[in-house]
Symmetry: C2
Subunit: 164 residues, 2 copies
C-alpha cells in the first residue's frame, strides 16, 4: 500500500499545483480511491468529493449513467466507466472526474471474469476509459484498480494539453 | 484495523439478515467507511452506495444539506451529520443512511479542534446524530470515526424497533 500512498500524494500535489479539482466515482473500489486521496494532508485543496455507485441504481440516478447502457452492457464496461467519470465531474462540480468499475470477486459479474477493471477519466475535453485485467484476491484487485486510477489521474495532471 | 473489519462484517451480515440496505455520506472518512463495508464479500447485498462530500458544495448540492445551516454552523456539526445521513438515504434510495463529519487534522477546522467528530444515522423514522472526541493522528481519527459509524449502524440493525 506504500506505493499507493506515494502515487496518491503525487496526484494531490499535482492537482494543487495546477489549481485543478478532482471528483471520484467508484464501483468496485467503493470509496478506497477517494479515501487514498484524502489520506494526504492538503487534499481538501483538490478533492471536491465523490460518489460510491455500488448499485446500478446509484450509477443511473446519481451519476446519470444511461440506464439503457447499463441494461445493454452491464456495469463492468468502458463506456460505463467513462460515463461515471463524466457524472462525477458534473455532479461534484470538479475539473477532472476519475472512476473505477470492475469485478473484485470472489464471483464473476455480468459474465465478466474476476479481475476485469475499467478506469474512466473525464476532463473538459470529454470522457475516456482504459481496460485492465488484474490478478489476486478481492482486496488486491481493488488496490490495483486504485493504483491504475491514480496513475491515469497523474497522467492527465502531467499532460501539457490540460487545461486547454 | 482488524477490529474495524470485524465490525464491518457484522454490519454487512446484520443488514442482509434484516433485508435492509445502507448508504453512506462521508466527509472526514472520505470513502473509508463505504470501502470497509465493501471489503466484506456479499456487501453488494446491502450496500447501495454513498457520497463522499468532502467540500460543502457537495454536501449542499448532492446531499441536500441546507446551505444556511452550513453557513451558520460550518461542516463539523451534529445537525449537518444528521442531514448528510438523511441525504445519503434519500439520494441513494437506501433504508438506512450513515454519515461522518469531523476534523481529522492536522489543522483545526471552522474553530473545531482536531478529533471532533459527529456521526449521523437516518432511518425511516428520521435522522439523528452523535458527538465524539477522538485522539490520534489523521489516520487514527478517521479510523475511529469509521468504527463509531459502524457501531451506530450495528445498533440500528440490532434494534427491535426497526423497521417499524
Amino acid at each position: 500500500m506504500t506505493n499507493l500512498h506515494h502515487i496518491a500524494e503525487q496526484a494531490v500535489t499535482g492537482a494543487i499545483d495546477r489549481g485543478l479539482t478532482v471528483a471520484t466515482a467508484e464501483s468496485l473500489t467503493a470509496g478506497m480511491l477517494a479515501a487514498m486521496l484524502a489520506d494526504t494532508p492538503g487534499a481538501s485543496g483538490m478533492l471536491q468529493g465523490g460518489v460510491v455507485s455500488y448499485q446500478n441504481a446509484v450509477k443511473a440516478d446519481v451519476l446519470g449513467v444511461p440506464r439503457e447502457l447499463l441494461d445493454a452492457v452491464g456495469s463492468v464496461d468502458g463506456q460505463v466507466a467513462a460515463a461515471m467519470a463524466d457524472g462525477a465531474r458534473r455532479v461534484c462540480g470538479a475539473d477532472i472526474g476519475v472512476s473505477t468499475t470492475g469485478v473484485a470477486g470472489p464471483e464473476p459479474h455480468d459474465d465478466k471474469p474476476v479481475g476485469t477493471v475499467f478506469i474512466g477519466i473525464a476532463t473538459a475535453e470529454g470522457p475516456t476509459s482504459y481496460a485492465y485485467t488484474f490478478e489476486g484476491n478481492r482486496l488486491e484487485i481493488r488496490a490495483q484498480a486504485c493504483a491504475a486510477a491514480l496513475e491515469r489521474l497523474l497522467e492527465v495532471l502531467s499532460s501539457e494539453g490540460y487545461p486547454a
